[in-house]
Point group: C2
Chain length 191, copies 2
């Protein structure tokens, strides 16, 4: 069953594994079992595990940064754009569909570091632009971007760290988004 696996199939399964159980779970043998194939099949599509890791990071960068930013930029109103970003990003984090934590844990891994630095820099630049669009002074926008991004990453981690606690419900997710939006919008309307 599941004949004719593509490189994309392996990569997608690996991205799931990364989000759920970290880089160590991006492992050929378990993925092969999960996909109903042999390890030998994997080596038709990839030279080795490193190439799979590279592909999975590229896919992550594409989906959770490039495509996400394109989505956000469809929103006309600058203020709504910030709120929309908060909603998408935190929603994704709460669903556990975010590979961010998995990538961060492997931050010092030389295969991971370049992609992580690139993604982080891009995201900070995007946020900075969104803040400028909403009327924040250039220097303040840079600090706002850093603080906002820290809050996003931190909130993601909180949801992962205390999944059984109050944070979990949809109402609480709404509350967290509002906290973040409160954080964003007054700051934006202020300076």
């Amino acid at each position: 069953m599941a004949m004719g696996l593509s490189r994309a199939d392996w990569t997608e399964a690996a991205l799931d594994a990364l989000a759920q159980d970290g880089l160590g779970a991006v492992a050929i043998d378990p993925l092969a079992r999960r996909l109903g194939a042999t390890k030998g099949s994997f080596y038709w599509h990839f030279a080795n595990r490193d190439e799979l890791i590279a592909a999975v990071l590229e896919r992550w960068e594409q989906r959770d940064t490039i495509e996400l930013v394109a989505e956000i930029d469809k929103i006309e109103d600058p203020r709504e754009r910030l709120v929309g970003l908060a909603r998408i990003a935190l929603g994704q984090a709460a669903r556990g569909a975010d590979a961010q934590a998995g990538v961060l844990a492997a931050a010092s891994d030389p295969r991971v570091a370049p992609a992580l630095a690139r993604v982080t820099t891009t995201r900070l630049a995007v946020l900075e632009r969104l803040y400028r669009d909403v009327g924040v002074e250039p220097e303040a926008a840079e600090r706002h971007a850093r603080l906002t991004y820290a809050i996003y990453v931190g909130m993601s981690d909180l949801h992962r760290a205390v999944p059984q606690a109050a944070l979990r419900s949809a109402a609480d997710l709404e509350a967290d988004i509002e906290l973040m939006v409160d954080m964003l919008v007054p700051a934006a309307s202020g300076a």
Copy 2:
């Protein structure tokens, strides 16, 4: 060389490995080589790898939560206590001495989840108390605590994600601490 290894020696080395390269690096063979011992030696001190993981998480909880809170509580002035906490926590994160990211990446691992939930809950409770001590209303204190903690975790991750960028210098660390303190103190003096 390095004869007579203790359980604590193995645990300390494992905590280093966890902070630097994640849970996967808490591995017997590499640690044995690093400590100049054989794998057989490890199994005198521990039943198995899981027991080492439990020990390392316990040590992390002790050092980066229990002892840290005790340290903070020595500070008399409530406002200074918040600033002091920010300074210690971010300083540690910037030195890469923080196992937080490594633990978070393995958040879904059943060996890790209980310790992580316990630590997170404790830290949020401590922060909430610090905010109440500084005069914040109870309900606001809980939200302030969550937001502040998210900022701390997020800032830690930023430092890990973009180590080569501007964030790295001591001056920038100071700036980040001030950002966080600005975040804390006006909020505290406010409500």
